[in-house]
């Protein structure tokens, strides 16, 4: 009988040591949209598109993703452009970094809600790379730019085998990390219409700390005068981190256009947001806590927007 082999245990601290490397893959930089479509159709699930990499490289390190080919789209024509035209609104290339977006004069002047949302994400250095396009395509329930995109009625413009296709952002998220993009399609740009005159918006994010932790709950509200409603106003409300996808809250929106706006009505709308929220328990917060916070933050965001709207009259 031979003695049991001696095993030298690996110290857990060594296993936990982060390696600066990633699992192997091939990197391809493309300059033509047609080539992207061809590569995507050829490689299917083995291919992954790259913008800032702040989601995919983390997911690859965690073993969630193991693509054989990573396709960098940042140098495709138009991908890093920002254009603003009062009639058509804002056009943001899918590869525009969050810092470039939040520093653009037209975005600061006309879309402060977007600046607010972007600035809640992670840290300045992460936002040098992270893009709004990647944030939407990653389709996390916690995506901080998604609620703002939802209330601003953003259009996602995809490129694919049949050319261009417009997907309203409300139809873009299908589930956790699942989007409406079809095989061979990629997001080329984001179009945000010019909001109605006199609008105001607010994004409030609750994280575990004051910095850029992922949202426990995120609430975006926008409102504007609208003489066709009984209240004289129309509101749009969207939530992050309380359902499998970022969601709008049509119930709250309906309440706020059907009756004259009072403290009580704002409270009712915030309760509607709480009722719509279907959160889960996770390490950042329990479902019960998330529901309660949805109501609180929705109330605060609604109050802020209502305050702005009355100031402007």
């Amino acid at each position: 009988m031979s003695a049991a082999p001696k095993v030298t245990p690996t110290a857990p601290s060594m296993l936990a040591m982060p390696s600066p490397g990633l699992p192997p893959f091939d990197y391809v930089r493309v300059n033509h949209p047609g080539k992207v479509v061809r590569l995507l159709l050829e490689h299917g699930d083995n291919a992954r598109l790259l913008m800032g990499g702040t989601d995919i490289f983390v997911q690859m390190r965690d073993g969630v993703l193991a693509p054989q080919i990573v396709i960098d789209l940042k140098r495709l024509p138009g991908m890093t452009n920002i254009r603003y035209d009062p009639a058509r609104g804002l056009t943001v290339g899918a590869a525009v970094s969050m810092n470039a977006l939040a520093a653009h004069p037209a975005v600061i002047a006309h879309y402060p809600l977007l600046v607010q949302a972007v600035e809640t994400v992670a840290s300045y250095q992460l936002r040098s790379r992270a893009t709004m396009g990647g944030n939407l395509c990653n389709a996390s329930p916690a995506a901080d730019t998604a609620p703002a995109a939802l209330v601003l009625e953003t259009r996602c413009v995809a490129w694919g085998p049949d050319g261009e296709r417009v997907i309203p952002v409300k139809d873009f998220f299908l589930g956790v990390r699942r989007t409406a993009l079809q095989p061979g399609e990629f997001l080329a740009r984001i179009e945000i219409p010019t909001p109605p005159d006199g609008w105001a918006g607010r994004y409030i994010k609750l994280g575990r700390n004051a910095g850029g932790d992922l949202a426990i709950v995120g609430v975006a509200v926008m409102g504007y005068p609208d003489h066709s409603t009984s209240s004289g106003y129309r509101f749009k409300v969207a939530l992050a981190s309380v359902a499998p996808t970022p969601i709008r809250v049509p119930e709250a929106e309906a309440i706020l256009s059907a009756n004259p706006i009072t403290e009580d009505l704002l409270a009712q709308a915030a309760r509607a947001a709480e009722d719509t929220a279907k959160p889960i328990d996770d390490l950042r917060g329990s479902a019960r806590y998330r529901k309660a916070m949805t109501r609180n933050l929705a109330r605060r965001a609604l109050d802020d927007v209502w305050h702005e709207l009355r100031k402007e009259r």
Binding site: P18, S19, P20, G21, L22, P23, P24, F25, D26, Y27, R29, G52, G53, T54, F57, V58, R61, V70, D72, N99, A122, S123, Y124, Q125, L126, S128, R129, G211, G212
Partner: protein, 156 residues
């Protein structure tokens, strides 16, 4: 596994190198170029120890591929001092004891340098916000913030 030839400048010096697709900028700097001033704390964008300037903007080198820096200008902590002279921000960290174990310091110096480049006279809130992505386990941050304020005051 593809390899790529990249051309770039690091701390002012032009360089050409052969890199694998999956080599991160952090691994490349430390292991291929021997620039070990840039630290690996988490490899996942959380700690900021790997912060370097890429075309003047601070980035987390652990989440950038080496192949992506083709054509770019890089500055690492090794590039802050010139002609044997520390740059004012570095001197301010010494004067205020803004560094203890020092592991976070290269990343914080770079993030702070980037802040002062875009905003030479930041408020305390702006300093805190700019350093939100840099974790320090030693100093308690106050001395770091004092150092950045001082460097800003003296035009650093």
């Amino acid at each position: 596994m593809a390899a790529h030839t990249i051309t770039f400048t690091v701390n002012g010096a032009p360089e050409t190198a052969l890199v694998h697709s999956h080599t991160t900028l952090l691994a490349f700097l430390r292991e291929q170029l021997g620039l070990t001033g840039t630290k690996n704390g988490c490899s996942t964008g959380e700690c900021g120890a790997c912060t370097v300037l890429l075309n003047g903007e601070p980035v987390n080198a652990c989440l950038v591929l080496a192949v992506e820096i083709d054509g770019a200008e890089l500055v690492t902590v090794e590039g802050l001092a010139h002609d044997g002279q520390l740059e004012p921000l570095q001197q301010a960290f010494i004067d205020h004891t803004g560094t203890q174990c020092g592991f976070c310091t290269p990343g914080i110096l770079i993030a702070a340098r980037a802040l002062l480049n875009r905003n030479p006279d930041p408020t305390e809130a702006e300093i805190k916000d700019a350093l939100r992505g840099n974790l320090c386990r030693c100093t308690g941050y106050m001395r770091i913030i004092d150092a950045v304020k001082d460097a800003a005051r003296t035009g650093g």
